[in-house]
């Protein structure tokens, strides 16, 4: 479990030291939760806890960064990591937008409904007159295309990085 969690966190772009801490804390919470309630998928729950912990860590670090640059004058000298991050996320946005533009409109519509509006595959299928299975296929294909576009463009994409 621990090694799988570490692999998950590293693949999502967590730094090695942070990944260690988060994996440790995730395991502790997982054990506590398993004592009070029934758990469907152990890994799904573990990944979700780890995601939330990573978001918390990220927020904390960002606060510290801003506090830091407030009271230190030499912010121009430091190679500000957040600038790289902003550029990366801008490039990612460009690549994703282009990929969405090239996609069949129906697939784009399905992705918007599923990701932005959180509609169920069944509801989307009934609105767009196709089967829920077909909706799933569109989502899977769309996700693969978007991911491949990022990889091709060489965008180092990791939300937690």
């Amino acid at each position: 479990m621990r090694s799988t969690l570490l692999r998950y966190l590293r693949a999502r772009g967590a730094r090695p030291d942070v990944a260690d801490d988060v994996a440790q804390e995730t395991l502790a919470r997982l054990i506590a939760l398993s004592q009070t309630q029934q758990i469907g998928s152990l890994f799904a729950l573990a990944f979700r806890i780890a995601d939330n912990l990573m978001i918390d860590t990220r927020r904390r670090e960002m606060r510290q960064e801003t506090q830091h640059s407030d009271d230190v004058d030499d912010e121009w000298e430091s190679d500000d990591p957040s600038l790289d991050r902003i550029l990366d996320s801008r490039r990612a946005l460009d690549v994703l937008s282009l990929c969405l533009r090239r996609m069949p409109p129906l697939r784009r519509e399905v992705l918007i409904r599923r990701r932005l509006n959180h509609e169920s595959c069944r509801a989307i299928g009934e609105d767009l007159s196709m089967s829920a299975k077909a909706v799933e296929k569109h989502i899977t294909r769309g996700l693969l295309d978007l991911r491949a576009a990022l990889d091709r463009a060489g965008v180092d994409f990791a939300e937690f990085a």
């Binding site: 998950y8 469907g40 937008s97 533009r101 409109p105 899977t140 994409f157 939300e159």
Partner: protein, 324 residues
């Protein structure tokens, strides 16, 4: 393409399928076990899953989709020179059809937007209020409750900001009815249930008809049938098995306390009372009480509390004070 490359493609496809499946609100035990088996089957599985999950959950994808949604016509064009010419003649024939399909999508999404209804409701302190939503669902709001409602052709969503509300949801086959209450989310097709935002962390859900799905985040989900309730807060979960009748007691001015804190009981009174009750010592709020209280009559409740815990109460000009 090498055999290894193909193998990676298969893993990526499976990972993308799992990302979609695992991001749904409910999965049954069989799917959950299958996912765990898949993750453990090969170390490359978790890596591919993580990469696709990162993309799916990313703010970048969200922003890109929002842009696409806001300008659908701008996004529909196929005149990108980077598209390879593999389709040749067939492409030209298809383009006419695609243009028609695209128009349909634009018309559909624009038509849909005019069907979206958004409204905010609030009940003044001291009075409860009943509202009927555009889909026919009825909501009884307790004093001091605030909520936003968004109804679209494909969804019904309520954001409950504070207070307590009893939802009698008009049944629909497809369109779910969701209530977001901070960290928790309740989703149904058609039932009657009550949500109480006790404090910034604690939410109490009671079900009076049908079946309700409660999602408290971090993979914590429950399905509650009628007659059951749940209290979620501060990492603790308590099930309330004794939900009776077809609507909550507060609507008639009653409150059934079951090892409930005085703090919570006082909050109930204050939602419906002209004069608020204040505690002389905040520690009094931690005391527990059990029993049926008529919250519409604050003086009677204070009398009962005083008797149970050996306390005093007095009426001042603009408030009641409960003290040692």
């Amino acid at each position: 393409m090498t055999a290894q490359r193909q193998e990676f493609d298969v893993i990526d496809r499976e990972a993308a399928e799992w990302v979609d499946r695992m991001n749904r609100p409910l999965h049954d035990a069989e799917v959950a076990a299958e996912f765990d088996r898949w993750i453990m089957g090969d170390p490359r599985h978790v890596e591919s899953y993580a990469r696709h999950q990162a993309l799916w959950q990313s703010g970048s994808l969200r922003s890109a989709l929002e842009a696409a949604e806001a300008a659908p016509d701008d996004f529909g064009t196929f005149e990108d020179e980077a598209v390879p010419n593999w389709a040749g003649q067939a492409w030209k024939q298809f383009a006419g059809f695609a243009a028609v399909a695209l128009c349909l999508v634009v018309v559909l999404s624009m038509g849909a937007r005019t069907l979206v209804s958004e409204s905010s409701y609030a009940a003044a302190r001291g009075t409860s209020r009943e509202v009927v939503l555009p889909d026919g669902s009825k909501v009884r709001m307790s004093g001091g409750t605030r909520m936003d409602v968004r109804i679209t052709p494909w969804s019904r969503e309520v954001a409950l900001h504070n207070g307590e509300a009893f939802f009698d949801v008009a049944h629909e086959k497809v369109r779910t009815f969701s209530v977001n209450a901070g960290d928790s989310r309740v989703t149904v097709l058609g039932t009657a249930f009550d949500i109480d935002l006790v404090d910034s962390q604690t939410r109490v859900v009671r079900v009076y008809r049908g079946l309700v799905s409660v999602d408290a985040g971090a993979g914590r989900q429950w399905r509650l049938p009628a007659g059951n309730g749940i209290e979620v807060g501060g990492g603790r979960v308590r099930s309330l098995g004794d939900v009776r009748g077809d609507h909550p007691g507060w609507i008639d001015g009653w409150f059934d306390a079951d090892d409930t804190s005085v703090q919570q009981l006082v909050q109930r009174i204050n939602r419906g009372s002209d004069l608020p009750v204040v505690l002389a010592d905040p520690g009094l709020g931690q005391l527990l009480v059990t029993g049926r209280f008529q919250t519409s009559d604050p003086e009677m409740v204070l009398e009962a509390l005083a008797a149970i815990h050996d306390l005093q109460w007095r009426k001042e000009k603009a408030r009641y004070v409960l003290s040692h």
